[in-house]
């Protein structure tokens, strides 16, 4: 199936998230656009503080004051025939949003220990989601919860249903999180660093499980991570973020083999084991990510970019557009203006 035939589950159009604090306004997301298809894993990668989680928090209606979604549209297509529903058109605590969140849209968080309630039995926590989003009776819900626990690889489900989260190991807790997230057959799953903090063998088990379930339920997955190795192993498409914007988006193989944006290139060179990385001394990106209150004119990456064109990159923000038939990128090396600028300099 080509990309066009596949059903688009979620469409995010130019959203921006601001946090207004006493020290000034932090532009956490500064215009992000992407689509997620059914049975597709879109990985969003970036360093800490680049706003990779924020766009999906906006999708789930989890941005809390002082944060605010200041512009953009988030269109959710429940199935192919239904009209798209703009999640930002309703209040985040409205009944419409509450009926979707946790049911059709689900999320797994990084810390399974803090995301699970320590004072409720894990069965009850799965039951809660089913109670809100399905019309099953008590016995039906119990059956469904046990099915989900078995599905995510927790043996002896009927006994484990009555245990508390502290009686499970880290990997098992993450499985429970996945069971809660998937018990209502969501169309879209947002996984925010679901395997950070888990061991490699457990990580591999969890990633395998997410891959299986993605196919089984034909759901779109947004996978937020900073680990490029996990991306190379699991994702279908990859979006690289830097300071609140997507700088490059392509399918996985293209992104790793032919990175276009200077940031992506530099990032891949600094990852040990990637084909672009050198042996011995690693190439690193000069400088550091600007602080949240710093204002960077033009392209956010220009102070650290080796291809920076003075007079253009530090003045005007490049548009995020198709640069060849496979890749979308936001860089003046590919824009008309950039080409003109280069010629005029030469």
């Amino acid at each position: 199936m080509t990309e066009k035939d596949r059903h688009v589950v979620l469409e995010i159009k130019d959203i921006a998230v601001d946090y207004k604090t006493d020290h000034g306004t932090v532009h956490a997301v500064r215009g992000v656009t992407y689509k997620v298809h059914a049975d597709e894993m879109l990985a969003i990668v970036g360093e800490s503080g680049c706003g990779k989680s924020q766009s999906s928090y906006a999708t789930m209606g989890l941005i809390q004051a002082p944060g605010e979604v200041v512009r953009g549209e988030i269109l959710f297509h429940e199935d192919e025939s239904s009209a798209p529903f703009n999640l930002l058109s309703v209040d985040k605590n409205s009944p419409e949003m509450r009926s979707i969140r946790g049911g059709k849209l689900s999320m797994i968080f990084q810390e399974p220990m803090t995301a699970l309630s320590p004072v409720h039995k894990i069965g009850k926590q799965i039951d809660e989601a089913l109670k809100i989003h399905t019309d099953l009776d008590k016995a039906g819900r119990f059956k469904r919860a046990c099915e989900m626990l078995t599905l995510v690889g927790i043996p002896d489900a009927e006994k484990r249903y009555h245990q508390y989260s502290f009686e499970f190991s880290g990997g098992m807790r993450q499985r429970i999180m996945i069971a809660i997230a998937l018990c209502c057959n969501p169309k879209l799953l947002i996984a925010d660093e679901p395997t950070t903090g888990l061991d490699v063998t457990i990580q591999a088990q969890i990633l395998d499980l997410i891959q299986d379930l993605k196919k089984k339920f034909n759901m779109g997955v947004i996978f937020i991570t900073h680990d490029l190795a996990v991306v190379a192993q699991n994702a279908d498409r990859v979006a690289v973020m830097y300071l609140g914007r997507i700088v490059e988006e392509a399918d996985k193989v293209t992104l790793f083999d032919e990175p276009q944006h200077p940031y992506t290139q530099a990032l891949l060179r600094s990852v040990i084991g990637s084909p672009l990385a050198s042996d011995g001394k690693l190439k690193t990106i000069e400088g550091s990510v600007p602080g949240p209150y710093d204002v960077v004119e033009g392209c956010a990456f220009h102070p650290r970019c080796e291809h920076c064109m003075h007079g253009l990159c530090d003045k005007k923000m490049p548009d995020f557009e198709q640069v060849n038939d496979k890749t979308k990128a936001a860089c003046h090396l590919f824009t008309e203006e950039g080409k003109h600028h280069k010629e005029s300099q030469a």
Binding site: E47, S48, S169, G170, G171, M172, D199, V200, T201, I202, Q203, A204, Q205, L207, D208, H226, D227, L228, A229, V230, V231, A232, Q233, N234, K252, V253, F256, D257, A266, L267, L268, S270, V271, I272, G273, S274, P275, A277, K281, L282, K283, T284, I285, S288, V289
Partner: protein, 345 residues
């Protein structure tokens, strides 16, 4: 030349259940019979899943924990040998300057109420060397060495990013010119591009000062990059030990092989052959009998649950697996020949 560090049969046990009179009844065997050597200027990568006892081993070597048994022979100048395991804390004080520790999280390992100057000069102050002015000079020198601007001398840790804080931690570890630095997951909490910077710094410093590192980590690619030798731990035991290249490319132990087979690589063309290991690291209070890895081992035989494997020297590596032991090797040979005969029929 004597090795810098010679660890023999090191065990660390924690009491789990204590009787009414304070006598331990049951034990958690966190580290069991760990043996390895480390030369000056060498990097040993210690890898394993969480709960495998790799940090506990590091802390026991530093005597931040008391080992239950074993020898830790430390030879900082190539001549005098100290057995760290049998010394008491008072005797240890003058030797402590030779080994330092770098922790994982640079946000919690720096006191937020101390300036960078005080943080880096603290080891000097504690060991009673030099004057205040000399300390400041040394701090400036160290800050320049780890890539920090010496003008930031009087700033507090909160003004620095994660990578810069880790540089402060490294500077503090270098203050007393140690011979051995134990890096406990020193780069795990950092972003990839920063991680590369810190790894480069650690490797530069190693060259410059002929430092030995015990690099504790779970990221095999990072360990492969920095380590000369690698020791793999599982449930408190060393299962394989050898040169980094050898262990991480031609591993002999099924556990190392499964770890390598499942570790994700930043290369979309890499083909993963094996299914991930099922199950989890066993509870150290109730370890399985025989080989501790047998419940998860993809090639385990009946004998694995009965006999404890010993260190076997093979191809320059030391490996603890019955599959490679002379007396029990035949258990695997048989199954292979059986498979062959079935094919022949």
């Amino acid at each position: 030349m004597k090795p810098l560090l010679n660890v023999e049969n090191l065990s660390v046990w924690f009491p789990k259940k204590v009787s009414f009179f304070g006598k331990p009844l049951t034990w958690i065997k966190a580290v069991n019979g760990v043996t390895f050597q480390l030369k000056a200027g060498e990097t040993l990568g210690l890898v394993g899943e969480s709960g495998s006892g790799k940090s506990t081993t590091g802390y026991a070597i530093m005597r931040a924990l008391n080992p239950r048994e074993g020898k830790i022979e430390f030879c900082p100048d190539g001549d005098t040998v100290y057995d760290l395991a049998s010394m008491d804390q008072k005797e240890l004080r003058p030797i402590r300057k030779h080994f330092q520790l770098i922790f994982q999280d640079p946000f919690s390992s720096l006191n937020p109420r101390m300036t960078v100057r005080d943080l880096i000069a603290e080891p000097l102050k504690v060991s009673g060397q030099g004057t205040h002015k000399e300390h400041t000079e040394r701090v400036k020198e160290l800050m320049a060495e780890v890539g920090l601007n010496p003008a930031f001398l009087n700033r507090y840790p909160h003004a620095f990013s994660g990578g810069q804080r880790q540089r402060i931690v490294i500077a503090r570890a270098l203050t007393l010119n140690p011979k051995l630095i134990i890096c406990d997951e020193a780069v795990s909490a950092l972003d990839v591009s920063v991680q590369a910077q810190i790894l480069n710094l650690l490797m530069e410093l190693k060259e410059k000062h002929n430092l030995a590192y015990i690099f504790i980590g779970h990221d095999l690619e990072v360990v492969r990059h920095i380590a000369d030798r690698v020791a793999v731990m599982y449930a408190g035991r060393l299962v394989e030990d050898g040169s980094a290249e050898d262990v991480l490319t031609h591993s002999l132990h099924p556990y190392t092989q499964s770890l390598l087979a499942t570790a994700p690589r930043p290369d979309p063309h890499f083909v993963y052959e094996n299914k991930p290991l099922s199950g989890e690291v066993p509870n150290p209070a109730a370890l399985p009998s025989g080989c501790v890895f047998h419940p998860r081992c993809p090639v385990a035989k009946d004998c694995c649950s009965e006999k404890v494997p010993q260190h076997t020297q093979l191809d320059g590596k030391s490996v603890r697996c019955l599959m490679h032991e002379e007396d029990s090797k035949h258990n695997w040979d048989e199954s292979f020949s059986l498979a062959e005969t079935i094919q022949d029929d």
